[in-house]
Symmetry: C2
Subunit: 776 residues, 2 copies
């Protein structure tokens, strides 16, 4: 290799590119020895090192030559631009292609390429430096096989930090661009120019997150518009809606008590409720559910196309990601008695845990914990339900007005629910990471995928259990007044005559909007607190805002390995709200849209003002998150089918219109209410009934008290409706899946134009090589 | 390039490798000119040409040098073995890998490779020659841009044939190996050695067919075994089956007439029928349906793994298939007024049809034809149904014994059905190819994929419509005796008390086994006829069995471009029988297994004794057939759910056991039969009833003739059963899909060992390059 003293071609201006920082006062003698060997080895690799001491910190600045860049460009299979002159060999062929042709760089075919210092962005240079830092040994040749890599040196305190240095002017430009006008910032995510800049500065992984966020937000716009239209339709037709009119005009319909200690109540008390219910539960709901199912399928397909074109634009098509080293935590957790094996890929000695005796018990422990946490979430929801049932019964004894009882019960229960949710979320965050750590994943990617799946399932259960309860179980198994179904002695909850859909909507709105507000609040408050702390600190310490860029960055937060994990998780959970329950919450896309605009600004501000510059990570897609989106897609078709079939009044109204005799909804409300003889109640229940009435009504399709065998038994119409509901689920699910399948097949994963471009580039590169061979 | 006169390194023995044959007597002067230019250009490409004249045929034998092979190995991205010595650079790393390391060949990195003449099989050499033949121009430089390629020369008769020559000893060895013992031949398909030999001789595409056939046949073995077990279970428990006993002992149960001119009949006439029904329709059926659903998912996953390991073994992982030239038929169909465009990939001038004005009308015409043919198939089935209904009514007038009527009706209808099926199939074969031709597909691959999809859908409809009718529609909408549903005046067909499952099984057996026998018969008779014709011909002509190998091959059948298309189609249709209706035909896997053993021998014999040697076609998978298999998988879950829910007696028995009171099947048959008062029949119907009875029974859940409102109305149990059936479909479908999804996720597409191997090879190749760079 070149000797350190040779004159070397330096890449770019002599700027600070990457620094490794250590403390000047060393407690441990071995540290300075390790540093010496490490830095000597770095020079061996032809890196340029420069020392600077400030604020008791010893900083080694690292720069890289074009020659080293080229070697690693070959090794890391980077695409590089090809020479323009060469293209003339092919005649017209070269001329018709506008952007410069690029190919995977090959040092032996250098005559084909046009590699200058501009071909390597600072992000790539930092990536190459980071790659070298991770592979360089810090002990003499006879030392341990595992004594290599900057990560180990950071862990044992030999160095205190290693990071690429921010570029002040780029940073300022972005802060300017994205702060002023919120709209142009987000829209800019959709053009290749901004994404290219992001990629050149932060690397593909972070650029892909912003690309995804921009894409998702754009896709939300049509969904939000259709969602609003599906709210306007019922508002316009509200005055013509017969069932809600019937409820409001029902002056003399007395409903049976809602709990064991409750009184009877007049039906028209639910007048407003029934009107609001219609706004959510109307024929447009079915349309919107269908629309969103196809929207979801389109989302997946369009994202595949969009990311394929982005990845090709970045020259990463067909590039396999380089080998990932084992996580330091993984190596640390494996004690010395674990037998060392040669890693079959790199050939280095590395502890390899036995699958049966070490990994399996840990995986089982992890799975059991997840199941336990799952049960905890379900138990929490059940206890809230029991709380609600018991409070309703207790309050009814002391408060006469039933609406006050309802509000007090609902509000306190919702508050309780939110607290439990928050506490469980914190526990989940903590335990999921611990459990994933225990599972001994070798690489960061495996670790992140496992953690993502785990956290998603847990948060899914946490957020959605209460929603599933309201959507599918509440009011479904109440029994008849002569024999109520009971849970711990309390009557199970009932739905009002309009169905539970309104309550479902309210629950969804509280959880989704509440979660977003809480989340954004955290993201606003935490940076603010950090800035205050930094200001306070800068008074005591002279570092502050002065000093070179690397010193300013040193006082920033380390970006860490988890990267944008939490941001993805929040977004995907939000995507669940937008699709899984969309038929009961048409405003969800709108709320998501608003949130994403805020989210984008918070995320970008965090990245630009709070964190050190991350090392560019190469990535060719959003990984396991896309698999989760696909699963959500399948689930959402089923859940929306069930919501429309069982939670909404769509099917009962349809059956009534078809076989009810009148051909319209006249008398529909009456048909859904059965009659009960108050004297058939137990003495305890009767004592709470103040009014002097004989018959009360309750929701259900049962025979009236006529004294024969059928009394309070289910009427045939109940079975007709149930059958229609089940048939609807089968038809909806299979028809939608068929259409989605056709959509998926009809839209190629890679745009045709792009396919042609890829084929063309391959063909031209091959032709060039062939031409060259023949000319030799 | 090398001049034709230079001494050149010849590859292999001086054997006949590839020949292009033309007639000695030329009618057209331009032909010999074209030949001259063409053969001169071939010599320019450094190919070795040798002339031989025999039987009025001028044969040009083509051989290829190692140097040319190497150039095209680079160009076609072939994997070549790497030098063993180089591996020592990496120390232990090289030693632990047993098979020789290979990498995509790169002529500039020749120092890494160990390429000798043995590295190129004859198949690859033929492929390279074929590739050159397809790109070589046959007119002087100033001629048309499209005057290139052997295909055009074959089309206009300049040459009469171009084919690789068979290798006599290899051919004989295979005929020997595969003819003697049927078992070892098929089993050998599952080991890599035989497949490698096949691949080296015939190329990947044909080897993949045999690999798929072997894999499929192996997978059928467990399915056939479980299928047989699922037949043994009911045979063992037949004596304990209450419903069939009840039917056999029902001496005094009179059933209502089955057609307008039929008489009443005793229930125990269906004694044998009910016993046989039980053999197919029993609790084991549900188990078998579940088993086969998971088997199907496993089939897909295992095939992905198996083909991935095969493709890697052949060094094709990550290799992109070379550009395909436009089909000659495509170029011929485009008249001269179609504007010429530059092909964006190769840069050659080529007619490109406008999408809106030329392609769209043709695609629409094609789709309309398919829909028309679809309707024809459905109409054909409906006419058979009407035929059956009318013949039954007509025969009942003249024949007294109802079993004779049944047999005559069924047999003549089945025969009619088979004839229609056969005729339609021929029409479909013809029209599908015509339609696909009209759609103007540019490449052979696009053409084949479109044809495959079209033919599969048409044959699917043709084979399966009558089966779908029996499974889901027959007996489902008969109405009640007081008001039968009618089609063209005839009563719609009924199912016997045991349900239609037995008839479904019989129909399946007839179509599946009949189709296979017919198909195999064709494949045996056609080669035999061809051989007889050849023998007869060889008496007149002196060519016959004498002469060089190329002359013998000349008299064989041209393999054509369609390749093994029909074989795939037959197999995939058979796969449909094995999965879509498996719950009503547990013997299907066994029949398929037997058929495949025969099929394998017929296919291999055809390939070895009937056809010229095909040019090796590179392929990395079975293409669109795999997509069709995936779709069949989804469909089969749904169809089996419906068969068990609606066609079998599983759900009614379950509901009866649960809420019938006795907790077992005592009285189940009685519960499925409703009572009808004969005097309620029309006078015409009554005149055909010879017995003097008052009440008759019919299958259905209706109220007896008790004179009140409910008379002949559906009883609640009907709704309970219907609800249970629909609920079963939802649960079955979603649970099975969930499990399949988990299976799919749990089994990686590429075996872990193979992934490691691929990563290892990549890493080692990279390390080698890096090491070399540093040593320079």
């Amino acid at each position: 290799g070149n000797k350190a003293g040779d004159t070397v071609e330096l890449v770019g201006s002599c700027q600070d590119l990457f620094v490794i920082v250590s403390s000047v006062e060393d407690k441990d003698q071995s540290h300075s020895e390790k540093r010496k060997v490490f830095e000597e080895n770095l020079r061996e690799e032809d890196l340029q090192l420069k020392e600077e001491i400030r604020n008791n910190l010893r900083c080694v600045k690292i720069d890289i030559t074009l020659e080293v860049c080229k070697i690693y460009a070959d090794f890391l299979q980077l695409r590089m631009p090809m020479k323009q002159t060469n293209l003339n060999l092919l005649g017209d062929l070269g001329a018709q292609k506008q952007p410069p042709l690029s190919a995977v760089y090959n040092k032996d075919k250098e005559y084909l390429f046009d590699v200058t210092e501009n071909s390597f962005s600072n992000a790539i240079k930092c990536r190459i430096i980071d790659f070298i830092l991770r592979r360089t040994r810090f002990e003499p040749k006879d030392g341990s096989d595992l004594s290599f890599g900057i990560d180990s040196l950071l862990d044992d305190g030999t160095y205190v930090a290693a990071y690429p240095v921010h570029e002040e002017e780029v940073l300022d430009q972005w802060i300017e661009q994205w702060k002023l006008c919120s709209c142009s910032g987000l829209r800019s995510l959709y053009d290749h120019e901004t994404l290219d800049a992001l990629r050149n500065y932060f690397g593909e992984k972070i650029a892909l997150y912003f690309a995804w966020l921009g894409f998702y937000t754009m896709m939300l716009i049509p969904a939000a518009v259709v969602g609003i239209l599906c709210l306007i339709y019922p508002l316009a037709t509200l005055s013509k809606h017969k069932p809600s009119q019937d409820i409001c005009n029902a002056d003399n319909v007395t409903m049976c008590p809602l709990c064991d200690t409750c009184d009877v109540w007049p039906l028209n008390e639910t007048c407003v409720h029934s009107k609001i219910s219609y706004v959510i539960d109307n024929p447009a709901t079915l349309f919107f559910a269908l629309f969103m199912a196809f929207w979801g399928a389109l989302f997946q397909e369009m994202w595949k196309r969009y990311s394929a074109s982005l990845i090709h634009h970045w020259g990463l098509t067909g590039v396999s990601l380089e080998e990932q080293p084992p996580r330091p935590q993984y190596l640390a957790m494996l004690s010395d008695d674990v037998p060392q094996h040669k890693d079959p890929v790199s050939g280095r000695l590395e502890p390899r845990p036995d699958w049966w005796s070490i990994k399996l018990p840990r995986i089982l422990a992890s799975i059991s914990t997840i199941i336990l946490l799952f049960l905890v979430a379900v138990t929490a929801v059940i206890s809230v339900i029991i709380y609600r049932m018991s409070v309703r019964a207790a309050l009814a004894l002391s408060i006469d007005e039933s609406w006050k009882v309802s509000i007090l019960t609902s509000m306190s229960a919702a508050f309780l629910n939110l607290i439990i949710l928050f506490i469980l979320n914190k526990i989940y965050d903590f335990l999921a990471e611990k459990m994933t750590e225990i599972e001994l994943h070798r690489t960061q990617k495996e670790f992140e995928d496992s953690l993502a799946l785990k956290l998603y399932i847990l948060k899914f259960v946490n957020y959605y259990t209460s929603i599933f309860y309201i959507a599918f179980f509440k009011g479904a198994f109440i029994g008849a007044p002569d024999d109520y179904n009971r849970l711990f002695g309390y009557r199970v909850e009932e739905c009002p005559p309009g169905g539970c859909l309104l309550e479902l909507t309210m629950q969804l709105a509280i959880i989704m909007v509440g979660k977003q507000i809480l989340n954004n609040f955290q993201e606003i408050v935490l940076p603010w607190m950090y800035r205050r702390w930094r200001q306070w600190r800068s008074i005591n310490d002279e570092s502050g805002q002065q000093g070179p860029r690397w010193l300013k960055d040193y006082f920033r937060v380390h970006f860490g390995t988890k990267g944008l994990f939490d941001e993805y998780l929040e977004m995907i959970l939000q995507y669940g709200f937008v699709t899984i329950f969309v038929s009961s919450f048409p405003m969800a896309p709108l709320f998501a849209l608003i949130n994403n605009v805020i989210e984008f600004h918070l995320d970008s501000e965090k990245l630009l003002t709070l964190f050190r510059r991350p090392v560019a990570v190469q990535d060719t897609g959003i990984g396991i998150w896309f698999n989760i989106i696909t699963s959500i897609g399948s689930l959402s078709v089923l859940s929306n089918a069930f919501i429309i079939a069982f939670t909404s009044t769509f099917i009962p109204e349809l059956v009534y219109t078809a076989i009810g005799g009148t051909g319209n909804l006249d008398g529909f409300v009456n048909s859904t209410l059965s009659v009960f003889n108050v004297t058939d109640y137990s003495a305890g229940q009767q004592s709470h009934i103040q009014q002097n009435i004989e018959l009360c009504r309750y929701p259900g399709y049962r025979f009236p008290p006529n004294g024969d065998d059928n009394e309070y038994k289910l009427r045939p119409i109940f079975w007709h409706i149930l059958m229609a509901r089940l048939a609807f689920v089968i038809v909806f699910q299979n028809v939608v899946w068929l259409v989605i399948k056709i959509i998926t097949l009809a839209i190629p994963d890679v745009p045709e134009k792009l396919q042609l471009e890829i084929r063309q580039e391959r063909y031209m590169a091959n032709s060039l090589i062939l031409k060259h061979e023949q000319d030799r």
